[in-house]
Symmetry: D2
Subunit: 343 residues, 4 copies
């Protein structure tokens, strides 16, 4: 059994890590930090864990005296980078879920996060935590930066065509997200009466995940982000121009080639049926990212669609999948949940 610790375990991503890691047969959770809730049971803020654990939160400074092999970081953006040097001393393997080590270019980081990067020299040490595209490197990497939720969906939807040169021009992404993406402290904007039934274009441009998709696809990306009525769930609609002469068959082949053997990516592009294109509602709780497409033959464009649960494949599940890859365990270990229908 490997020993794992979680920094920032009181938030939604932290709770999801606790859920997945408690159900994981190869690890034991030895510490879950929350300075605010130190001493309190983890099943207080995470009531789904009742009956599964008696673990209590510990203050951050107890980590120094705790031995563990893997450290999951679910701390806030901007705050994580300043503490990374310290974190790296604590464990051999560090899996970061913040946004601080995803972008390889510190200047891009500065322009999207509004502050200079505090530890640019550490960025190159991190591998992108997307096994579908970086599996080989992840088997030996001890610094892993898990991509953002909307970025994961966008990258998985766009990269197969981008890498094969099947698309050209700007990629226009419309991302829709549930309320859990805003975290525990959603504030006034997150109050139920305001957020319920919303179709809130909270980022008509400049969302940070746009930069991640651009980096991973080597294309100009323009993204809008809309909050929709859902707790969990992300869906991206990506409008692309196909390169001259590219057929629907080639598009399908590229997706099949990229993901045919992937344990957590399904290609969903049917001609009919209620669920003929990816939808997050049947992915809640699961680690799947469904990707699909619809080609408009008449004008050579296509819509690429990705869907996932932002707290699982777009967060804690993706991180656990990376750990599985890193330690050579079967990739589905602890991530077997199928998703629900209806839901």
């Amino acid at each position: 059994m490997l020993r794992v610790a979680i920094v920032g375990a009181s938030g939604y991503i932290g709770g999801e890590l606790l859920r997945l890691l408690h159900g994981h047969p190869r690890v034991t959770v030895v510490a879950a930090t929350s300075d605010r809730l130190a001493g309190r049971r983890v099943d207080g803020p995470h009531p789904n864990l009742r009956g599964h654990t008696d673990l209590c939160f510990v203050g951050h400074d107890t980590l120094e005296n705790t031995e563990f092999d893997v450290l999951f970081l679910a701390a806030p953006h901007r705050e994580t980078m300043g503490r990374m040097a310290e974190f790296l001393k604590l464990a051999r393997t560090v899996i970061d879920l913040s946004g601080d080590f995803r972008l390889r270019d510190p200047e891009v980081y500065a322009s999207y996060y509004g502050v200079a990067h505090a530890a640019p020299h550490l960025i190159p040490e991190f591998t992108a935590g997307l096994p579908e595209w970086h599996r080989a490197r992840l088997t030996t990497s001890d610094r892993i930066a898990v991509p953002g939720c909307m970025a994961t969906a966008g990258i998985l939807a766009v990269r197969p065509l981008a890498l094969e040169g099947l698309i050209e021009g700007t990629v226009r992404v419309d991302a829709r997200t549930g309320s859990s993406g805003s975290g525990v402290s959603g504030g006034a904007a997150g109050a139920h009466a305001e957020r319920s039934g919303a179709l809130r274009v909270f980022a008509p441009s400049g969302h940070r995940h746009e930069a991640e998709i651009a980096q991973a696809t080597d294309r100009t990306v323009r993204m809008t982000a809309t909050g929709v009525e859902a707790v969990r769930g992300v869906q991206v609609l990506c409008q692309v121009k196909l390169a001259s002469g590219v057929s629907e068959k080639e598009v399908r082949s590229a997706f099949r080639a990229a993901y045919g053997n992937e344990p957590f990516v399904r290609v969903i592009a049917q001609r009919q049926g209620l669920y003929r294109l990816p939808e997050p509602k049947i992915l809640t709780g699961s680690n799947f990212c469904d990707v699909g497409f619809a080609v408009s033959a008449d004008d050579g464009t296509a819509v690429l669609i990705g869907a996932l649960d932002n707290l699982v494949k777009g967060g804690a599940g993706g991180a656990v999948q990376c750990m599985n890859v890193r330690f050579g365990w079967p990739e589905r270990t602890g991530l077997e949940f199928f998703g629900l229908h209806p839901n």
Copy 2:
């Protein structure tokens, strides 16, 4: 045109008062107070008012220098009673939407609100703001206490049978309510991710509105309150024992007699159909309270049901209706909205 002012205009009840009063042909809103938002436009927190008004919030202390005829109070429970003497100096007619002057017995108030009443001598001056049962007195009353949202539904559902002696024993009320009832500052409990899809028994007993229903029906009332997935809407299910020999026909007659001519109460008790019993979802935005019943002949019990929009008939709309009655205007003035289906 009568001049009206609103204390506590930044909250949800305040916003609903602004909506209804701006659409009311007999009044003009001369002041809307919010110490926190003084100087800001009212259509900031109440975006549905955009294009209808250029009004800005004013600080509370400006009221002294403003002339108006009617003062609506949408200030918090417990806080209102201490300031009532002051409020009464400001306007001839005061319509209070807090809970502080609804209960006639200060000891009952103390036991339900957890504090001694600060102005018990003023309680007798207030008339219950329920035109269906106190219309005559309301035509001359200048101190009106509008009942609580769940209380309004419960009283309208139970009182026709209670007054006629058609029921006996304890009345058991199960009240369900949307999130807007918790007000603007719902706090952590009101965060969308926590509140969405909730079936939260937040008051298994002892809810304050229980005391109002008991007072108005002269019966022992036991009430549970559950938060359900909705922004607006209250529904009460009241289980009662019919007095010996009372038939369904008598029940129906009692409801018809009580509400046959009421502008805002509809008796809904059909044998079939999707909407054969009262449901708040088709009442959103309207001032209706639908009441209905289902009699179990075999054991002499009945379920009495009431439904309304907590911010309208259960709050601001009820208050405006009282004003209409007080000033002799047609009771539907400014309250004509039918409600929506589907919705």
Copy 3:
């Protein structure tokens, strides 16, 4: 009082016409047809009308013997065109809510609706029922074709810039819609358990409203349509390329110029705030279409946003507004409802 009749009054648009026309001080509803429900009360399928009317549905063939001035058609697409000649004999003024007379080019109709147009010679007689752009002609038109719900939002969002030559290239529209747009008989796809929480890309391309927006803006339009969790509500996100050198100020001016005096279009484009861009959730029941925009200075693109209630401004309300214009009544008559917040 003008006498009005409704064909197809049992559906959701029909019900909304009944709601609005019963609240309209200048008209009286003399007939509401439904062959299926003939003889039944209209407040059966439209329970929000209880207490407001005793009207019953009549069979279609009774219309011949009824006198009325205005005929509203809420019959299905494809079926309406074949019966239009007959309808035109029944009333002086015909307001059609089907899709059959919106597209001026029968070939475009054929390509989007999959059948040849049955009455192409009648198409030129119809005026587009969008007062914001055709008010003058509507004052004298007796054949009015009300645009589709998503088309109304899209046209109102895009046309100000398109007409002024401020945009170039293809307009990419992402349209989101609630479940009521599918009508009463939503079928298996509309079952709550399947439709709840959906993010269903039901038309990745080729939606019929695309053709309407293209026709009204004289631009190439590519539209995706997604069903979202809502009963009512449409929102369109339109990604456009600004013509060279066009500034945000010019964009704002164009919107102000187009809609500054409109009774039912509000320009919502604030720098901050929860509702800084248009959202349908605060428009439910109202006849407003809110339009807004966000300009990306760095790459000369903009997102144009429109939101409305598909059954009101995107259907029955738009039709009533046209009637008001046609008969010279104040345009807001019968359409005064503000919309609700929170909701």
Copy 4:
């Protein structure tokens, strides 16, 4: 590996059986019947199964030529009883999810289901499929009748006190249920626009599950059933009178004694916190039934609350749990999912 077959596999309960049984390490699904969909892939109507199985539906008559050990019946009420003799020939162990063999008294059945029982002689052969109360008998039973969803919640909430004689008088149950309980063919009542946001008292009295709770608790039970906004989820609120002198401590002890060692029942009765009483929203997908209570010391009453996922613990999960008990496997096998928060 045991071989299992499912009759009626195209419905929601059938789909949930497929989900759970495909993830179960001790069984293999050899047949899933649906006469309507014979030959079609099971992941068509159950899209969450994509990637997990290539199974296709078979017609019912193929079962005769298939060998299997356990037969799960997810066929409709009333239809199942007439075919039970035939079903019992097909497999050694039959687990029935219909309502036909739950009630021990055929006359009670007739009064609640409106038809005479077609196979009353078979009723005594069935054991109630509730391991918490019948575990010993289930280890040897080959005819198992899984209780209804609301009945499971109600029985688990009420029986600990009823059996210990801690309550007296009538038990009043208010049951709330999501839309999936109505099955795939919800009809017009199940259309999203009608069902969304509903608080539909579809059974003010006489619901069939009432009889099950009465039978299992030996008390008079009066139940109302309300459809609420949710796809999955059942919650029951049971109002009981405590026997004279019974304290909260005794109530707690009774629950602890009954369920302290149960793998799938958690006693949730905290003094504070958001989730201090059972709520279905954190149980979606899990096999837990959370039970809790709130005692009103002043009048000797209590509210007993049960919550579960109607398709899992209230259906397919309960059935799988029974199978685990029957075959001596660890009871949590295949049912490990924790439930999600937030959700």
